[in-house]
């Protein structure tokens, strides 16, 4: 059996990259068919194949690391770089929507009544549910740090409790935000105020759901003893992502909800 003379991971041949690309094709053309021809079959197929591909791809990464031991310190360093670069790209993604918000709100046009919030828009009170949501996400930042310390100290039970609490807080945020969306007196079609509000907070909400799902997978892995006190990068990546989601909310709250009201 040949042994490699380096510490990198030469992966087995895998079908998931090309399947993922096809899933993206089906999703993109599915969106087209939905928008222009009122048909959702292709979109459903695309989202389903995307889900299947990502689940199996990430399942294989767990197998390669926890069960086959391929994640040497060198490999882990690469994964850290990768996650940091990904989160940075997401930061730029949100930057665009914040740019749009400030573009419209710093110099409101006469069509808006020369004021921000525009004439006719009653914004949400930032000291009601939005403030509660801020407290929830900040608390979840504390609980996830508690979970991390517990993992590093091999305190399995406390880690499980702390991570579960973090996920529950995330779900609570999502539920509250959903009720807020239902109760707002304005909608996404209400001019540039509606557009900037719902696109920015909407994408943030999607990231909360993604982050909560990532944390849930980590909880399942934690329960199954996949993490060791010294090697638990999957959890760290989820924690980084979760802190990022929290920080984006803080920007959203202070700019759109508070300054913009």
């Amino acid at each position: 059996m040949a042994h490699q003379a380096h510490s990198f991971h030469m992966v087995d041949p895998s079908p998931w990259p090309i399947f993922g690309a096809v899933a993206a094709l089906l999703t993109a053309s599915g969106l087209t068919m939905w928008f222009h021809h009122h048909s959702t079959q292709l979109l459903t197929l695309g989202l389903l194949s995307m889900l299947l591909t990502t689940l199996q791809w990430w399942r294989d990464i767990v197998r390669e690391s926890t069960f086959q031991g391929h994640h040497t310190p060198t490999v882990q360093k690469g994964l850290r770089y990768g996650m940091i670069l990904f989160i940075t790209s997401e930061a730029f993604f949100f930057l665009g929507f914040f740019w749009a918000f400030f573009h419209s709100s710093l110099a409101p046009t006469p069509e808006l009544g020369g004021q921000w919030p525009p004439t006719g828009i009653t914004p949400l009170n930032p000291l009601e549910v939005p403030l509660l949501n801020t407290a929830i996400l900040l608390a979840s930042g504390v609980t996830i740090t508690w979970a991390h310390h517990s993992i590093a100290e091999a305190n399995h039970k406390q880690a499980t409790h702390a991570l579960t609490l973090t996920i529950l807080l995330g779900l609570y945020f999502t539920a509250l935000q959903a009720t807020e969306y239902y109760e707002t007196p304005f909608s996404i079609t209400d001019g540039v105020y509606g557009s900037t509000f719902f696109v920015a907070t909407g994408f943030h909400g999607l990231h909360v759901i993604i982050g909560s799902s990532f944390l849930l997978i980590c909880l399942l892995r934690l329960i199954k003893f996949h993490f060791t006190p010294n090697h638990h990068f999957g959890f760290e990546a989820a924690a980084w992502y979760w802190h990022f989601v929290d920080i984006i909310w803080l920007f959203l709250y202070t700019t759109i909800y508070w300054w913009g009201s």
Binding site: A2, D12, L52, D60, G69, P229
Partner: protein, 92 residues
């Protein structure tokens, strides 16, 4: 996980990280969490059977893989047909 200095597809000995928590280390009150199956899974996935990691578990992996393949290939054909029809000048 184990930190292996070399990677080989066959491992006569189980690869344990020195920091892996063994089931025997858990206090009795944690029995509700179930037994630590990681060592067994490590043995399973390190078997020298030449299978790639996405098929290593046998039948369930094969079924899932074939389902995904069927959906993506079928979907591609459907996509090409739908786009061809959508590009025709007449309305449907």
């Amino acid at each position: 996980q184990g930190l292996k200095p070399i990677v080989s597809t066959e491992s006569p000995a189980l690869i344990f990280g020195t920091t892996t928590k063994l089931a025997s280390d858990l206090p009795a009150t944690d029995s509700f969490l179930g037994k630590n199956k990681v060592p067994d899974l490590q043995k399973l996935f390190q078997k020298a059977d030449g299978l790639p990691v996405h098929l290593k578990r046998g039948v369930p992996d094969k079924l899932l893989y074939r389902t995904t393949m069927a959906l993506t290939i079928g979907g591609t054909i459907y996509c090409l047909v739908a786009l061809y029809m959508a590009s025709q000048p007449r309305s449907q």
